[in-house]
Structures are given as structure tokens and as C-alpha cells.
């Protein structure tokens, strides 16, 4: 699988700190602007708008004054090994790149059968129900030149800003480097988040912050049990948030409680949050 110009195997991934996320939506806006996501004058039909990065509001479901609210920013999870959406695609229009771990989408090959949308449990895939981006009113001047706009009738999704990887690589090659430094390639949402809730990097590189963060007991993934192996991780100190990351039968969820934070000791005995 190794290409001549790419030493070692990378696995790009992201850790989102839910405790830091304020739900401001900057990641959504940055993503849409960066990736030339189509917009319409009326964006109220949420079943048909395109939001590669989407915020889900979650709540602990308790009555005031115990109500707590949080947000799950949800990009494509870039599921690993056997992404649900990849093997189903009829036209080989979506692929998992083993050199980067990125699940890509070839717009000009997609026939728009939407099987991949049905297969993705995160709702991360979006179909172009209308003609692309308004071409009049000069809005095409705001397009990112590195990202191709999509035509009507094809499926699109978060690419981990793949073009930024290309850009970073080109730059590195120009400087006669073959490896990227940490932080040279980050996604638009990572860069834009004012709370710095998103960390992006190579999960295979032990030096990268992300590969340390994913070992933390507060780190979890969405729907881990069904075996999609997402490369997007979440981090929260609150049990009710972690519990909403997956489906659990009664009694199945074991809360992680940080009893002695100073000594970096972790216990799974019930503590602050009870379920």
C-alpha cells in the first residue's frame, strides 16, 4: 500500500473536547466556506441542507436546575478498516485511503444512488438535491480554488480538508522534506474553533497530541459498539455526555470517575454522575 512518495503509514484523526465546545457553530461555517458547500436562499429544510460538520445539541434530560446542555460537533468519522459507506458504493466512488486513513469521495464518479447515505449511521453524507452553489450574484468569486464544487445529484461529505493535506505536502516537498510536522496539516474546523476544542493530527504518530489524547479514559467514540472504528474521538469529563456517545442497555454503561486527578488514577466506581 505504501507509495514511493509517502514514508510510513499515517492515520489522520481528530479529538473533539466536548467540555470546551460552546456550540458557537464556527466549525460549521468554516467548513462550509472552505469546502464550497452549496447553499440556497432558504436553508430551513434541515433534512436536505448540506452540513459536512454538524452540531447536535444534547442534554442530560434533567429538570431545572439540574439541566446541562452540550454539543456534539459531527464531521464524517472517517471510519477505519471497513467503513460502512465504502464497500457498498456501486461505482467505487468512495474509498478509504490506507496511507492517510481518509475516506474520500470522487464526485465525478458518483452516480447518486445514495446507498452510501443509507449505510452511514452518522448521517455524515449529503446529497446535492439542487444545482450547485448559486452561480449568479458573483458568489462564485468566494469559492475556494482548491476544492471542486459539486454538481447536482451526487453525494458529498467531509474530506478532512484533504486539499489542505495536499497543500502541506507540496510545501514540504518544496522544502525537501518528506514528512509533515505536527500542525502543518489541520482541518478548517480545527483552525477555526475559537475554544480550541478540536485537536487534529496523526493517530499513528506517538508524538502527536491526538495519539496521547485518545488514550485518556474520558475519550470515547460515537457508536463504538457497532464496529465502525471512527477516527474522530470525543472527550468529556461528564458521564452523561459519554453515555450519549453510544447505545447502552440498562446497567451496561460503566462511568469513568476521576477520583484522584492529581495522582492520575482512574477508577470506574460510581461517583459524581449517577445512572
Amino acid at each position: 500500500m505504501k507509495k514511493g512518495n509517502d514514508h510510513g503509514k499515517h492515520k489522520y484523526g481528530m479529538v473533539i473536547d466536548i467540555d470546551k465546545c460552546t456550540g458557537c457553530g464556527t466549525c460549521m461555517v468554516a467548513c462550509a466556506a472552505e469546502n464550497n458547500v452549496s447553499v440556497r436562499a432558504d436553508q430551513s429544510d434541515k433534512e436536505r441542507t448540506i452540513t459536512w460538520m454538524r452540531l447536535y445539541k444534547i442534554s442530560n434530560g434533567k429538570e431545572f436546575p439540574h439541566t446541562e446542555v452540550s454539543y456534539f460537533p459531527r464531521p464524517c468519522m472517517h471510519c477505519d478498516h471497513h467503513p460502512p459507506c465504502v464497500s457498498v458504493c456501486v461505482a467505487t466512488a468512495t474509498k478509504l485511503d490506507f496511507n492517510t486513513g481518509i475516506v474520500s469521495q470522487i464526485y465525478t464518479r458518483c452516480i447518486g444512488c445514495r446507498y452510501c447515505q443509507a449505510a452511514c449511521p452518522y448521517g455524515a453524507r449529503y446529497f446535492n438535491w439542487w444545482d450547485a452553489f448559486p452561480q449568479d450574484k458573483g458568489m462564485d468569486r468566494y469559492l475556494t480554488p482548491e476544492v471542486s464544487p459539486r454538481m447536482r445529484g451526487v453525494v458529498e461529505k467531509c474530506t478532512f480538508c484533504h486539499h489542505r493535506l495536499m497543500r502541506a505536502k507540496t510545501l514540504a516537498y518544496a522544502e525537501d522534506r518528506r514528512e509533515l510536522e505536527e500542525g502543518e496539516y489541520v482541518t478548517a474546523c480545527t483552525e477555526a474553533c475559537p475554544a480550541q476544542a478540536i485537536t487534529f493530527g496523526d493517530l499513528n504518530n506517538p508524538e502527536h497530541e491526538v495519539s496521547k489524547l485518545i488514550k485518556h479514559p474520558f475519550t470515547f467514540r460515537l457508536l463504538e459498539r457497532i464496529g465502525t472504528e471512527p477516527k474522530v474521538y470525543y472527550h468529556s469529563s461528564r458521564d452523561w455526555v459519554r453515555k450519549l456517545g453510544d447505545n447502552f442497555l440498562p446497567g451496561e454503561y460503566t462511568p469513568v470517575v476521576n477520583k484522584t486527578w492529581a495522582e492520575e488514577e482512574w477508577s470506574t466506581k460510581p461517583g459524581r454522575d449517577e445512572f
Binding site: Q117, W129, I226, G227
Partner: protein, 412 residues
């Protein structure tokens, strides 16, 4: 007016009556034509499909007509390969129904994909791991087989028969029908199965996901079995409908009874396996995903009543009626049982398509509901209109019921 075209020795309604009969179906076709035009011209925003309901009414229609059209390959298999000579009396209508169902489904699929002009990418850039690729390959090939099976039937038209070359060609095709029946059986087995496999392999959707044998999820085998259980019933229904409208007996009871009996056994076997499948899934995949059966029906318009209907009302009940000789020999009960059987299979496809998508997998997501637009209905109904038109034209101009003359001697 068109009497030189009508088959010998049978009675048909007047040309005018036939013309008026076709009007409602032509109207459905016009409605569908307008809808198709809008969908191709303006895009799929004309439908109520969405990023949640990526598959909707059309896919339900597709899967339903393909299952119901299974009567064609299965009757062919029984007639030519198992040597059930009795079924020669019903094989021609079965083939025509199959042709209608498959060509209708293909036409709908052509509109359903977002980029119809790229349809050939399925073959050119085929992803051999995708069940949908297998479906597309087999359906396309099988439609050709059906067309080949349809040709000799068309060539039996009185006027065409007069042309010697065509007559010889038609008869030679007849001779080798067994080859096509075998090919059709092979192709049908795989695409009926892959249509089920399509849903079983969606391992991240616990409502549809199934375990299975090697690369084939259980839905693969269940879809094959359910299709051959309901296909013959649909053939019976269509024949009965033709008999009702033409007010005469067209197929000897023995052929109908044989089909009904075979259907009964297959449906019973299917019900046993389907219930086993439900149980295996309820105690395997669902708890492993951290869910319960009830959690799928917590909210939204699609309740557990759909499953009850599928299994009991439209599964076990028709199986019993068809199984009991007294039941299937009674015209009324036979028709009710066939109707229920077909409804059950359509319901099964509906559950796998629409209900699967309506149920959120992420715990913080919501349940969804969906209603089709008139454009979606238009295209669905156009397939029905097309079916009525083609079938009535075939009945009028071709001798598709070999026993018609014998059963309805013209007295004067």
C-alpha cells in the same frame, strides 16, 4: 377494426371498448411522464426524499415489483426444469408479468439515481464488493432473458405467424426455452438475494443488519425465498384479475392449484425461517448494539404493528389458508390469501427500506417520518399503468392462455 390481429377462435371486446379501457392507464402514464420529466429536468428535489430518507417510495416499489415479478423465473423453473407440464398453461402470463415488473423497475431506477447519464458507471467502475452492483448486473441480464422469453410469445400473434421466417424463429426459440429458464433462474437467485443482502450488509444500521453465511447475510436467502413464495401468488392474482375483467375462465384450476400449493409450502418455510431470523436478530445483533427491539419503535409513525402485520396477518395467516386444500380451493379465500401474501412481502421490503432509515442510530438523533410527493406517486403509479396496458394488449393480441379456446368454446 383490429380483428385481423386478434387470436383465432377467441372472443375479444370491441376496439372501442378496448380503447376506453386503456384511457385510465394512459392517464397514469401521462402523470408518470410529467413526474419523470420534472425529476430529470429539475432534479430529485421534486421528491420528498432527503438525506435521511435516501431510499424511499421508489426503492420500495422497485423491490416490491421485483419480488412480485419472481413468478416469471420461478414458474419457468418449475415448468422447464422441474417438468411441471401443467404450468405451461400459465407460463406465458407469468413471463409477461415478469417482464413488466423488471422493465418498470429499471425505468424507475433510472430516474431514482441522481446522475442518470452516469448509470453505466455501475458496470464500468463496478465495485465488486457492493451488493447493489450484483443486483444491477443480474437485473440487466435477466431483463434481456425476459425479453428473449417474451419474443416467441409476441411472434405467436396471428399476423406475425403468417410470416414464415418469424414463425420458424419463434418456434426455434421455444425449443431452447429451457436454457433461458435455467439462465433466468440462476440470475434471479442472485439478484433477489443481493437485494436482501443490500440491507443485511449495512452493519452500522442495527435495524437492518444481519449475520449470515460467509459473505451473504441471512437476508440474502430470506429475500430469495420470500420472492419465490409471493411471485406465484402474484401471477395467480393477475390471472384472476384478467379472468374477472374478461368474464371467462382462462387457466384450468389444476395449474392455479399447483401454484398455490407450491406457494403455500414456500411461504410456510419462509415464515419459519423469518421468525427464526427475527429471534436471532433480537437476541443477537440488537443487544450487542446496546439496543432493544422496543427502542426501534419508541417514536415516529412506524410502529411495531408493522412487524405484527408482516408476520401474523400477512404471513402465517395466508400460509395456513393456502396450505389447507379447502382454503385454496375456495376462490374467495384463495384471492385473499394471495393478496395477503403479496402485501406481507411488500411490507417486509418497506420495513427494510423506509423504517431502517427512519430509526436514528445515534442516541441523540431523532426519529423521522416521510411522505412521498405527487411526483413520486406519479412514477410509481405509472409502472402500474404501464403494466395494465402491456398486459391487456398482450391478452388482446396474443394467445397467452393456451387453454382459453378449450375452456370457452364459441357456440354459434
Amino acid at each position: 377494426m383490429d380483428s385481423p390481429l386478434l387470436p383465432h377462435g377467441v372472443k375479444r371486446c370491441s376496439t372501442w371498448a378496448f380503447f376506453f379501457w386503456t384511457l385510465p392507464w394512459l392517464a397514469l402514464l401521462a402523470w408518470g411522464g410529467l413526474s419523470a420529466f420534472l425529476c430529470l429536468w429539475k432534479g430529485l428535489n421534486q421528491t420528498n426524499m432527503s438525506n435521511v430518507f435516501a431510499f424511499a417510495l421508489w426503492i420500495v416499489f422497485d423491490l416490491a415489483v421485483i419480488a412480485l415479478g419472481a413468478g416469471a423465473f420461478f414458474t419457468g423453473f418449475l415448468t422447464y426444469i422441474m417438468g411441471q407440464k401443467e404450468l405451461k398453461n400459465i407460463i406465458k402470463p407469468a413471463v409477461i408479468i415478469g417482464f413488466i415488473c423488471y422493465s418498470g423497475a429499471m425505468a424507475m431506477l433510472g430516474i431514482d439515481i441522481g446522475q442518470p447519464i452516469r448509470g453505466w458507471f455501475i458496470f464500468w467502475h463496478a465495485n465488486i464488493h457492493s451488493m447493489l452492483v450484483e443486483v444491477s448486473f443480474c437485473i440487466t441480464c435477466y431483463l434481456m432473458v425476459l425479453a428473449i422469453e417474451f419474443i416467441p410469445i409476441i411472434l405467436e400473434n396471428r399476423k406475425l405467424e403468417e410470416i414464415k421466417e418469424l414463425r420458424i424463429f419463434g418456434h426455434s426459440l421455444h425449443e431452447i426455452m429451457a436454457v433461458f429458464a435455467a439462465t433466468g433462474t440462476f440470475l434471479s437467485f442472485f439478484h433477489q438475494g443481493s437485494l436482501g443482502g443490500m440491507f443485511g450488509v449495512m452493519y452500522a444500521r442495527p435495524f437492518a443488519a444481519r449475520e449470515g453465511f460467509y459473505i451473504w447475510p441471512w437476508t440474502f436467502f430470506l429475500f430469495v425465498l420470500s420472492a419465490i413464495a409471493c411471485g406465484p401468488c402474484f401471477t395467480i392474482l393477475c390471472t384472476k384479475l384478467t379472468e374477472f375483467f374478461s368474464r371467462k375462465k382462462l387457466v384450468p384450476d389444476s395449474a392455479i392449484q399447483l401454484l398455490a400449493k407450491i406457494s403455500a409450502w414456500l411461504l410456510s418455510l419462509y415464515m419459519v425461517l423469518k421468525i427464526a431470523d427475527y429471534l436471532g436478530w433480537m437476541y443477537g445483533i440488537i443487544p450487542r448494539s446496546g439496543l432493544t427491539f422496543e427502542s426501534f419503535f419508541r417514536e415516529g409513525p412506524y410502529g411495531v404493528y408493522l412487524v405484527v402485520c408482516e408476520i401474523i396477518v400477512c404471513g402465517i395467516l395466508p400460509a395456513i389458508i393456502l396450505m389447507v386444500p379447502k382454503g385454496r380451493q375456495n376462490q374467495g379465500w384463495l384471492i385473499i390469501a394471495c393478496l395477503l401474501n403479496c402485501t406481507g412481502i411488500v411490507l417486509n421490503r418497506f420495513l427494510f427500506i423506509v423504517v431502517t432509515l427512519a430509526i436514528p442510530v445515534m442516541p441523540f438523533d431523532r426519529f423521522w417520518g416521510y411522505l412521498p410527493t405527487w411526483q413520486e406517486w406519479g412514477i410509481g403509479f405509472a409502472v402500474i399503468g404501464y403494466g395494465f396496458l402491456l398486459f391487456s394488449a398482450a391478452y388482446r393480441y396474443l394467445p397467452i392462455f393456451p387453454k382459453e379456446r378449450e375452456l370457452n368454446p364459441i357456440t354459434e
